[in-house]
């Protein structure tokens, strides 16, 4: 008797690329001019945009400085840590 092989079609939920935020947190030591320069260097932001994020960090305690694919976000967080900024990766809600 022939064996019947039932092939089940499985539906894999592929990990949809959830956007990730790169967040920079305030600290009382880093100079505002230094933070602005780091944002310009790491993200290539204009001085105006870099200052906007710096002021958010300074006044609100944190700023989402970049949002996008996880791998790139991790690389940015690593660069920011290299400049000694307090930075974390978080899922974009």
């Amino acid at each position: 008797m022939a064996e019947t092989v039932v092939e089940e079609e499985t539906k894999t939920s592929s990990a949809v690329d959830v956007p990730w935020n790169v967040v920079v947190h305030n600290d009382p030591v880093n100079l505002t001019a230094y933070v602005t320069r780091v944002f310009q260097k790491v993200f290539g932001y204009s001085k105006t945009r870099a200052e906007k994020h710096m002021l958010e960090v300074h006044n609100l305690g944190r700023s989402i400085v970049w949002t996008g694919a996880r791998e790139r976000a991790e690389a940015y967080v690593e660069q920011l840590h290299g400049y000694l900024l307090l930075s974390t990766l978080e899922k974009s809600v």
């Binding site: 030591v29 880093n30 100079l31 967080v77 840590h81 290299g82 307090l86 930075s87 974390t88 990766l89």
Partner: protein, 146 residues
């Protein structure tokens, strides 16, 4: 005085075994408990790279300081900093300020103190932090073309 403060950049930037200072230099890359594996990998693979990066900035500074020479007549010391070393100086000064702040558990309000009572042990520390910040600011201005 300034010469001595410059020579202290390297030792001041070294967190040694001070946990607060180490935690500041190697802060977590995530606050999400669900990302524990990522945080572990970070400690294993990224932190050693960061340590090498931090050390290389200090080595550049100490290399420049070794070439510092004092005028035998006036006693004034001169240190020449190549412009391509400024990034390392900015980084090293920043690292020293962060480590000193954590090592001595300084709070926001400590930085607002205008004058300290004579003999207050924080006086020299605050002077050191202010001079490092001033140098950092000057170097940043230079790089911006001012």
């Amino acid at each position: 005085m300034i010469t001595e403060l410059l020579r202290r950049i390297g030792p001041s930037a070294d967190p040694g075994n001070n946990q607060r200072a180490r935690d500041r230099l190697y802060s977590p890359p995530t606050n999400d408990p669900a990302e524990a594996n990522f945080a572990e990998d970070w400690q294993e693979y990224v932190e050693p790279e960061l340590a090498r990066l931090f050390q290389s900035a200090i080595e550049v500074i100490e290399g420049d300081l070794k070439k510092m020479h004092a005028d035998p007549v006036t006693g004034e010391a001169t240190v020449s900093i190549p412009s391509d070393h400024l990034e390392a100086w900015i980084h090293g000064l920043n690292q020293a300020r962060l480590v000193l702040t954590e090592r001595h558990k300084l709070q926001d309000e400590d930085f607002d103190v205008e004058t300290l009572p004579a003999g207050d042990p924080r006086a020299f520390l605050l002077l050191q932090l202010r001079i490092y910040a001033q140098l950092q600011w000057l170097f940043l201005r230079y790089l911006e073309g001012h």
